[in-house]
Structures are given as C-alpha cells and as structure tokens.
Symmetry: C2
Subunit: 322 residues, 2 copies
C-alpha cells in the first residue's frame, strides 16, 4: 500500500515523535501519567506529525525543532479529543475505553488541560513568532469550532455553509497548520510554505468529509464505535444534510429523533437509509473535489521525494472509500 512507503520515509522521525510525546506527558502525578499513557497507546494514525515531517523536508532540516512542532500538533489534537469524548459521552475510542469511561469526566477534562499546558511549555522556546501566531490562531479557531459543534448539536437549522465552516475549524485548520508549520520550522520559501498550507487545508477538508461518510458506510468493528454515531450524538454531517434535502423520510426521521417524538422510522432505519442513498455519492464527490485541489497545489511544488509522498497520501485518501 502506498501510504506505507510514505510512513517508511519519515519512520525514524515518527519514532522520535512517539518518544517525545511519551516524555512530554510524563507527569509527577501517577493519575495523569496513566491517563495520558492510556491516550497515547490508543494510538491514532499520527497524521499531523507525518504532515509536519513531510512538509519540513522542503526546507532546511533543523531536526529537533521540527520534531517539537510535530509533537505539539499531535498533543493539541489529543487534548481536544479527550474533551470531545467527555462532551459526547463517548465510551470507546479506537476500540479502547475513553479516559472519561476508564476514569471519570473530571480526570478527562483536566488531562486535556494538562496536555494543552505541556504543549505550551514545549513551544515556548521557539523564537520564530510566526510559529506561535499560526498555532495560537489554530487553537483559537479549534475552540470556536468545538463550541459551534455544541451549538449545532440536535439543531435542524443548518446548511452546507455551517457544515463546511465547522469542519474547517474542527479539522482542516490543524492539518493546514501541520504542513504550514513544518514549512516554517524548516524555513522554506514563503511561496512553498503557502502551497504546503493550501495542500494541508484541502487534504484536511477532504479527509473530514470522508470520515463523515465512513461514519455511515463503515462497520462498527472498523470504526470502533456504532455506525451512525455522529447522527446518534446529534451531529449533522454532509451525508445527512444531502439526505434530508433529498428524502422527506430522512428529514422526518431526524426531526423526530432530535425532538424526541414518535415516527414510523427509528433512527437506526434513518441511518440505514442515508447509508444506501445518493447522499453518500454526493458527499464523496465533494471530498474528491477538495482532493483534486490538493493535487493541483502539489503540482506547483518543486519535484522532490517528499512531494511524491504527499501525493501518495492524497492517492491513499482518495481510495479510503467504503
């Protein structure tokens, strides 16, 4: 598989990232230690570090700083996941019990805060103020996105615009920052930095839309959580938006579920209906459109090895279907 070779290319550095994450989250308190470790070993694809590392190969390689940027972005992602799981009352993530399930909500909230605080300490020594600017803006927007997600929960009055704005803040910006900060940390030309940033944004959007599709089309085993979890938790994503527009039954079913009213379709029926509707295809096409934009951006970048791997990732994502 093509992704594997991209991973192999940065594998040594990913090992360093893993080690550093473990080090940074090391804590005097055994409780934080266990909770962070629990999070850490739950794994994840380390997509953000991979993007930082690949982007950094376009510039001068000041290894330690680049590793730190990669670690920081992964930690922020982890911290936001812990808080998300509390809010969604999620019991399982990647097949393992969540921190709020294994311990309690309080531990999960403070563990998130702690990881966040450690990230700040990690980045403090960086002299390049643009790294700080990009990162703090991203964290700011991420928080806004998270609050919007709560505001929009169980709300029927949403449109494509609300959805795109939200996933931009919740996902795409952090991927965009990964490629951009990798470029800044390795001091690439500004034009290369902007292309990498643009690639990251489009990949991030495409990725999140695919994730929202897979929430319907994948299996419980693969997802590590029930099929249709987003909708069950009151989150309206792109497939649901399309399906509600096309199919009165879906609209009625979602409406009834959100308002706790009776309806002749259960929410499981509605999920099944969305899964087998054209909404999936339509959403997929949008995801592909972002991927094409990412590819167009890639074409403008200098031809080198890391570019080949960024291309591989784009290819891989386009095949992540169903």
């Amino acid at each position: 598989m093509k992704l594997a070779t991209a991973l192999k290319y940065v594998n040594k550095d990913i090992q360093r990232v893993e080690k550093k994450i473990k080090n940074v989250t090391k804590a005097e308190s055994s409780m934080i230690q266990s909770a962070s470790n629990h999070l850490l070993t739950a794994g994840g694809k380390r997509i953000r570090p991979i993007f930082v590392l690949l982007a950094s190969r376009f510039g001068q390689q000041n290894q330690e700083r680049i590793i730190d940027v990669a670690v920081a972005l992964e930690l922020i992602h982890m911290a936001s996941l812990v808080h998300d799981d509390v809010i969604d009352h999620s019991m399982v993530r990647r097949g393992k019990p969540t921190v709020n399930k294994q311990w309690d909500n309080g531990t999960a909230i403070y563990t998130g805060d702690y990881i966040f605080a450690r990230t700040l300490e990690l980045l403090k020594p960086f002299k390049n103020h643009r790294l700080h600017t990009v990162l703090s803006n991203t964290i700011h927007q991420l928080c806004v996105g998270e609050i919007e997600q709560i505001r929009d929960k169980f709300q029927l009055k949403q449109n494509h615009f609300t959805y795109f704005k939200r996933i931009k803040r919740k996902t795409a910006l952090l991927i965009e920052s990964s490629t951009q900060m990798g470029a800044i940390a390795s001091e690439t030309d500004r034009s290369v930095e902007y292309l990498l940033k643009d690639y990251g944004y489009n990949i991030g959007m495409s990725y999140q839309i695919m994730d929202d599709i897979l929430d319907f089309t994948s299996t419980e085993k693969e997802l590590g959580k029930p099929v249709g979890s987003d909708l069950l938790n009151g989150h309206i994503t792109l497939p649901t938006l399309y399906a509600m527009k096309d199919d009165q039954e879906v609209l009625g079913g979602v409406q009834a579920y959100f308002n706790e009213q009776e309806y002749h379709l259960t929410i499981e029926d509605v999920i099944h209906r969305i899964k087998h509707s054209h909404a999936i295809e339509k959403s997929y096409n949008i995801s592909q459109r972002y991927l094409e934009k990412a590819n167009q951006t890639l074409e403008q970048l200098p031809n080198n090895e890391p570019k080949k791997y960024l291309d591989d990732i784009a290819q891989y994502l386009s095949k992540r279907r169903f």
Copy 2:
C-alpha cells in the same frame, strides 16, 4: 475599609483590565460571547490583576504590557473556575448560575478552552521569555493541582503535606505569578521581583486557608453556596484534617459519608461540629503564619506607595476572619 484605598490606587488600571477582558473574550460565536459575558459579569474580586498592578508599581511602568499580564492571569483563573464547576457539578458561583448550569457541561468545557486559547494569543507578542516561562510553569502546576484534587476527592488517606502541596498548586502559584509577573513586566530589580514573588506565595497560601475556613464559618448567603461545600464535594481541607485528628466522631462521620455508609451523625452534623471545633482556630493560626511571612517579606521591599497598599491587603486578609 483599608482595601478600598488600595483599590482606589489602581482603580483606573482595573477599569482598563475589565475593558480588555471584555474585549479579549469577544467572540464571533454568540454562544461563547454569552457564556464569557456571564462569567465576566459574575465579577470576582480581581485579586490577581490588583496584585499584578501593585507589583508593577515597583518598576518602570510600561502600561499596556502590564494590563495584558493582569488580564491574562485573571482569564486563566476564570478558565480554571469554569472547568472546576463542571467537575464539582456546581450550580451556583457568586450567587449566579454557573455556565454548566445555565448552558451545559459541553459549553462550559469549551468556554474554558476558548478563554485559555485567547489568553495565549494575548501573551504571544511578549518578547520577555521569563514572562512565558513563569506563566507556562504556573499553568502546568495548576493543572497538576487540579488533577490531584480529583485524585484526592473522597479519599481519607491525606495529610497536611498533601493539602499544602495542593493549595500551593491550585491557588498560591497563580497569586505568586501575579506579583512576580507584575515585577517582570515592569522590569524591577531581580531582588525586588523575588521579594514580590515571595509575598505573593505567602499571601496566596494564607488566602486559600482562610477561604477553606470560611467555607465552614461563613453563611450560605455570603458564600453563594451551601456551608461546608468543600466537604460535601469530597474535598478535605485544613479544618477537616485537624478535626478528624482531634475528634473520632468527625473522623467517623467523614469516613461514613465518603463510603456511603450509615452513621449516627449526618454530614451536616459533622460540618456543624467542625465549625465549632478548635480545628478552626488551628487552621487560622496557620493562615496567620503565612501572613506574617508575607509581612516580613514586605519589610525588605523599598518604602513606597504600592508597598503600603500591599500591606493594607495583608491587613485586610488577616481580618477577613469569620
């Protein structure tokens, strides 16, 4: 009252702090806006900003930066309170419904995250790396203190050492940082900075112990929450530690309450018993000892107007009894 004159002395700057807090927490999202505003108007004594401002008068006054430091410390305090209220299921703070009560836990968690993120953006332009070092260490320790507080909740196996370490992290360090960062931002001599830092630490410890006493000796109306809330929430503070040591009935009552067992005293009886025990006096003496240390530190500072006001605050705190 003496505190009023200290307040009057920095009043103009406190107004600027208030205005800036409002500005910083201004958000595109109306939900964050309302939640932050709600927090903001719930007021608070703005103790941390007052300490920043008074400490800064020992050095050169670069007004804007000092205001920003004051705002940052108050915001971090606010962010940590929102998360605390979620964890303690608190419904009321300062006589107003908490964010988790008025909205929900999710909104409260993300509002805390958001305020925290905004604080980072505020401090980003500061070139003085010691401001960042002090602050990020304080935030780190604050998070550790918060997690320890959960770990120690409903735990009988605690001693004075656990308690002092916890309140240092939870309270004293943020007050210590207020005076120290006020000094750093106004570029005082290093010796003055360390004295101010030391004063802040001792005042912070004294203040928290008094707060823990008042939780027993004050009225529900004054506290804005039930008398004995700490113990009801499973937090063992200094008066409880002393009372459990001196009085088998208190020990038995707390034990039974924590283990949800039957006992001939209700937890309300236990709270009443602690309130009228020598444990209060003993705790008060410890608080006074920290205050004396703060006063001794003050004596070594140059004689000037702000010093008089720091002294007033110490005097005021010593009379905050019962």
